[in-house]
């Protein structure tokens, strides 16, 4: 690798500047706005927004947070968001992990077919996937039709419930999980697996003591990414969910677009950022810690 500090930095600066200006800066400005600072780049949005809490000097005011976080509706939405996120991550890890593991251990035609199937949602725009899921689990959808013909005549209508939201989030998240976990498991050398089998480890034991510990990095990536993308989703809960309670993505869009209360919407955004950061750091911490105690590095 050539040492060219100036040329290198110049060449990488366009995307870095783009991200700094349109992601880094707005996040800081949004945090300031939620604490009542309406100057600078926040001045225009503050002139448009309604029901704002303005700070008069000092560090700012937490009044907007107080308003949003004592709102029963918002709290329920927050709970829904957390629940859907946790369930989705768990199911995606099991489902994608199962498919990827099967692919790793069998490698046969069925395994390839199954993993090919599992990445299909990646080929479909999320809007379409969301709509398709809403129709599939609707009162007159194929899910209930199938159930009816199989003798389950009062199968629930999942559309417009948390059930459909969760199903939709799982549906769109599975491909990424399968891709990353499959490539992670593929990186575990055959020799390691065979060695464990040779000394008499059962298949389950091999999976839990060899393959999974050696694939810590992809597992962490899938977990955090799925969690972050679910928390930041709008399309799936908007398409498949009830009007209330729904996930915070829908609520903050409503506050922003329909109620014209951008400050409240940004408070929710900051709350979701904080939750995402918490999940991220919890995972990093857990992994650093277990990596240290078990001596296995990812």
């Amino acid at each position: 690798m050539r040492r060219s500090p100036i040329r290198g930095l110049l060449m990488v600066s366009p995307p870095i500047v783009l991200i700094a200006v349109f992601v880094g800066f707005p996040v800081v400005a949004a945090v300031l706005y939620t604490f009542g600072h309406i100057g600078g780049t926040n001045s225009v949005i503050a002139a448009i927004g309604q029901r704002q809490h303005v700070s008069h000097g000092g560090l700012g005011t937490a009044a907007a947070y107080r308003e949003v976080l004592t709102d029963q509706q918002v709290l329920r939405d927050l709970l829904v968001t957390v629940l859907v996120t946790v369930i989705t991550v768990a199911v995606v890890l099991l489902l994608a992990g199962g498919v990827a593991l099967y692919l790793r251990l069998s490698g046969g035609r069925i395994a390839k077919f199954l993993s090919g199937l599992a990445v299909v949602p990646m080929f479909i725009p999320v809007v379409i996937g969301g709509y398709a899921i809403r129709q599939f689990y609707a009162t007159d959808g194929l899910f209930r039709t199938l159930a009816h013909h199989l003798g389950w005549s009062d199968a629930p209508t999942l559309s417009y419930t948390m059930g459909a939201i969760t199903i939709g989030e799982i549906w769109v998240s599975v491909p990424f999980g399968v891709l990353l976990l499959a490539s992670g498991f593929a990186a575990v050398p055959d020799g390691q697996i065979e060695a464990a089998r040779d000394v008499g480890a059962s298949l389950t034991r091999t999976v839990f003591s060899v393959i999974l510990p050696m694939s810590r990095a992809p597992i962490v990536i899938v977990t955090t990414f799925t969690a972050i993308s679910v928390m930041g989703s709008f399309t799936i809960p908007y398409m498949t969910g009830p009007s209330a309670p729904n996930m915070l993505g829908v609520t903050m869009t409503n506050y922003f677009v329909s109620f014209n209360q951008p400050q409240q919407a940004q408070v929710m955004a900051v709350v979701v950022f904080a939750a995402a950061a918490l999940i991220g750091s919890a995972y990093v911490w857990a992994n650093v810690r277990s990596g240290r105690t078990s001596g296995v590095s990812s």
Binding site: P15, A30, P121, P125, H149, V207
Partner: protein
């Protein structure tokens, strides 16, 4: 636990130890096969069922629960959608934004991708990871947070605003994947060309770039798709002036007959599905996953 569910049938299905009694083996094997078949059918229904159901609706006159078949088949909804002006304007906008975003993204990111792969400079690793900031924030929250700046810069409901919001979703793809491609070009080839007297620019255009082209092409297709399918940010920034195909879906699903919405959905899904099929092998082959192995 699923991990166990999957491996249980597998244990008997995949080359069992020879000292196991044959009879037990056969029973176990067929039970395993059955469980596996059930598992495959369930996943297939879960993944493909909704899409098939949506596709069928596009050709149905009406459908009454719990009938297996619709009351009749028709192409009426295709005519309805194709003759309407909603479609053409949304398609036109989508096909304007996506190529522009892809090109701008390539111009901004490809030099950076090369630099990340070939130059050593202070903060290289940190900067490479920091590009990831767009994906580290929950998306809709990020778009809502961006609104203040967009209002201040007068970018709300503007063409440029939509380009920027879609551009942000392509930066990681357009930097990481080509960077891995540039890094994979053997340095010995470049050195050999230089030893033979080729100038650095000539080496780049005759050796490095052609060898990295597949990776760049994949990044461009994925970026095009990311822009083409982007709905949440485009909706917040562009609506109601700039309504692309995916944002149109938000509106259609509540106001259109469901069969017409199904037709629109299929029309929107076709370009994505075709382009994805083109890059399928590379995405599955680990290009995407390779992007996450930061060097």
């Amino acid at each position: 636990m699923t991990a166990v569910d999957v491996t249980a049938p597998l244990e008997v299905a995949s080359r069992p130890p020879q000292d196991r009694p044959r009879r037990r083996l056969r029973v176990g094997q067929s039970l395993g096969r059955l469980a596996l078949a059930g598992w495959v059918v369930l996943i297939a229904a879960f993944i493909v069922g909704p899409i098939v159901w949506l596709a069928l609706q596009a050709f149905a006159t009406s459908w009454r629960y719990p009938s297996w078949t619709p009351d009749g088949w028709t192409l009426h909804w295709w005519q309805f959608v194709l003759s309407g002006s909603d479609l053409s304007s949304a398609v036109g906008l989508s096909l304007t934004f996506s190529p522009i975003v892809t090109l701008v993204s390539a111009v901004i990111c490809l030099p950076a991708a090369y630099a990340f792969a070939r130059y050593e400079f202070p903060g290289r690793r940190l900067l490479l990871v920091s590009l990831f900031a767009t994906n580290a924030f929950p998306k809709i929250g990020l778009y809502v947070a961006m609104a203040g700046l967009f209002y201040w810069l007068n970018l709300m409901t503007t063409f440029l605003g939509v380009v920027i919001v879609q551009l942000l979703g392509t930066v990681v793809l357009m930097t990481w994947i080509p960077s891995a491609a540039f890094a994979a070009v053997p340095r010995s080839l470049e050195e050999a060309a230089r030893d033979a007297g080729a100038r650095p620019t000539r080496v780049f255009f005759r050796i490095t770039l052609p060898l990295a082209t597949p990776g760049i092409a994949i990044a461009m297709i994925l970026s095009f798709l990311a822009a083409f399918d982007e709905a949440q940010g485009t909706f917040l920034v562009g609506a109601p002036t700039y309504v692309t195909m995916p944002t149109k879906m938000y509106e259609l699903v509540n106001n259109y007959p469901q069969q017409a919405a199904a037709v629109f959905a299929i029309l929107l899904a076709v370009p994505s599905a075709v382009l994805m099929l083109l890059v399928r092998r590379h995405v599955m082959g680990g290009h995407l996953a390779a992007g996450f192995q930061l060097r």
